[in-house]
Symmetry: C2
Subunit: 149 residues, 2 copies
């Protein structure tokens, strides 16, 4: 019952993320970054903070993973945008787009692990800019259950 | 420059999520919920809070979307788990699994929009339990660019 009560309390309070790492990339500015990883983005380093390193156990080069980032330059008040920043396209709610500007600017990036060097993962392609906080890593669940975890 | 500075400040401070809605489901307990939506989970309602409703514009029944939730009953100190709670499987880092127990318990759920009734979306299948806070909605980006947003 104690854990149930803790859960209730958390629900009423703020939901606070703790970064587990950070992106190190040659992309330095949002305005120059591709909109999606598949649009010519480079590989990047993901540095995992010491406290979270044990959670990497089981990941290997070649894995397809999902990186969740905190898009720290985003505008959280934005609720409608022109898709792909194209003023000719009619305004759309941000939940129908992948705009980084949204109430909770969590980025979702599917990447391949190129190599792992201690607490650093070489991953790509990735459109997130240098300094972007990373909040989670998940395996891709695919049809053939390559990752059935 | 002002926005750049705000970004820098946010990076140093806490990263706080603001729920944009909540799940209403017949699943009431984590222990009875399927581990993935594809494992027999039911449809559920997603109630969007009033402030975020304009961000729904452009979503329609039939859309494939990704729901990001805050798994409020998760244990955030957990860094290793037995995959699928099977004690016979060797301990694995949580980043190599889909365990809800992880430093930032963000749930990632791909669902179909069954219908939209004002600020409520009928979605499924969904394994998240009743009362789970929702923090983001994104369109699925697929090969054929059905959603090129």
């Amino acid at each position: 019952m104690t854990r149930e009560r803790t859960g209730k309390a958390q629900e009423k309070n703020s939901l606070e993320l703790r970064p587990i790492g950070v992106i190190r990339s040659k992309l330095k500015e949002r305005s120059r970054a591709p909109k999606q990883g598949s649009e010519g983005a480079p590989d990047a380093w993901l540095e995992i903070y010491r406290f979270a390193a044990p959670a990497l156990d089981g990941l290997a080069a070649g894995d397809e993973i999902i990186i969740l980032t905190w898009l720290h330059r985003a505008r959280r008040q934005t609720l409608r945008v022109h898709p792909r920043s194209d003023p000719k396209r009619r305004l759309s709610g941000v939940f129908a787009t992948r705009s980084p500007d949204r109430p909770n600017p969590i980025g979702l990036h599917q990447v391949t692990v190129r190599k792992i060097a201690k607490n650093r993962l070489r991953i790509g392609p990735l459109e997130a800019i240098d300094g972007t906080p990373v909040v989670d890593i998940k395996p891709v669940l695919c049809e053939i259950q390559k990752h059935s975890l």
